[in-house]
Symmetry: C2
Subunit: 311 residues, 2 copies
Amino acid sequence: MSKILVFGHQNPDTDATASSYAWAHLEREAFGRDAEAVLLGEPNEETAFALAHFGLEAPRLVTSAKAEGVSQVILTDHNEFQQSIEDIRDLDVLAVVDHHRVANFETANPLYMRLEPVGSASSIVYRAYKETGTPIPQAIAGLLLSGLVSDTLLLKSPTTHDSDHAVASELASLAGVDLEEYGLALLKAGTNLASKSADELIDIDAKTFALNGHDVRVAQVNTVDIAEVLDRQEEIEAAISAAIVENGYSDFVLMITDIVNSNSEILALGSNIDKVEAAFNFKLENNHAFLPGAVSRKKQVVPQLTESFEN
Amino acid sequence: MSKILVFGHQNPDTDATASSYAWAHLEREAFGRDAEAVLLGEPNEETAFALAHFGLEAPRLVTSAKAEGVSQVILTDHNEFQQSIEDIRDLDVLAVVDHHRVANFETANPLYMRLEPVGSASSIVYRAYKETGTPIPQAIAGLLLSGLVSDTLLLKSPTTHDSDHAVASELASLAGVDLEEYGLALLKAGTNLASKSADELIDIDAKTFALNGHDVRVAQVNTVDIAEVLDRQEEIEAAISAAIVENGYSDFVLMITDIVNSNSEILALGSNIDKVEAAFNFKLENNHAFLPGAVSRKKQVVPQLTESFEN
């Protein structure tokens, strides 16, 4: 039987890594398939913390399935081809396990596709373990918990689904950790911004959105101390200005998210600052402003920008 | 709560109708949602037989969701937008339950999407009843059985999944019918070709495929007597020739499928008959030839034509 590669999106985050690692295990255990989890990029510091905490090796990196002699793949935590492996269009996608919108995705053949509008792909993988009656090793439970905690900022993001609370509680129990204590330690592991250059910082988790003809870059960093990030404002603004010029963004919106208190500071530069201000009904002072209660780019920032740019 | 419309593809067949009818019922019963099944076209004779057999009313026809004041929809047995309701691009797709490839489909938001590579969408809907512990009314079990029997030609098509045999047996038991006896009666109800003009006959179930720059039309009709259809060969060829001229098809391939013995006669006209003959390694005599064991356009005809047209 030919090998199947299982992977999350490029620039993998903890949920992409956890969901692919566990789904490959489930494929082997429940269905007897020769499935291997791989990564499309180096794990970030938060993901490295989770892997180390539960004594797991990071999956190896691959950039092409064909180069591995593999033609069958399973995608987790993404479906859009531009977020996937470079030769995705030449491969046979057997399955997708994801919690995002569907776009830029197509197949030649019927497939197994399981998307649910929940807080993490890891939540869905956990449900599949239960449905198939497959025992879930302690370390994998810990990794899946990490994926859910990471994507929902410890269940505080509005992307959290009602069902995710029970999933988190069950996974914490299986993993033998305290949900709040471990969850906060995990999130803090991803907030080590001091070690990063300003160029790196504004690219840790950044996506470009086409809003009414403008390419708007929206980046997010997690921290336990917003003031500490703003201390580097001059350096960060220089990096943002350079990125705007280099990539032709109309605007760059950086969310500096306080993971402890669940708020964000917005730092924005660009040609349409009036539209950014209108989106959030605030005034920037010295290029930044506070956005209380905002932690989700997907639900609390991008839709508001989209609407404002259309007016 | 706003209403949700649930529907299968245009030119609805029995699986499209059954899966949407039952999924709307499941949404109401299991999730308390205000879901209504509707049809995008008149039910065919086979579907009408199934509805009547189990004492169910055909869902009403709609052509636009917006015209109904509805913005939220659920798709069954299809996902490609060109097969869906006319205003699909303006709607919020809440869920998809399907067993086809994915193409020409995208959403703005995360959704529930459940695709399995099995014989019918009805098989998946039945599984969802079981998983949610929702009692399945006898008539709906009968309708779902009809969807599965129709799409798999009574479990004989190579599109039949291993798991479909148990599904058929359980549904027959719940519906209170004998699988073989009812299944054959259902399929025969769809073979009443005598009542149809040749123009109607070649359009009952026809799809166009772009094969290496050629628009190839592949149609299929079910019968219990291939000879009876060939008796109308002259009239059918006239209809095919007219369709070729009117629509610019390079070739027209008609599968006349014997549902009792699971074979097909291929009747083909067009500019690339050498490629059609090479695809199936046969010679047409008087424009037709026998293709033993072939019943599935998706698995036994289109891939072979695709490969032949590429050489």
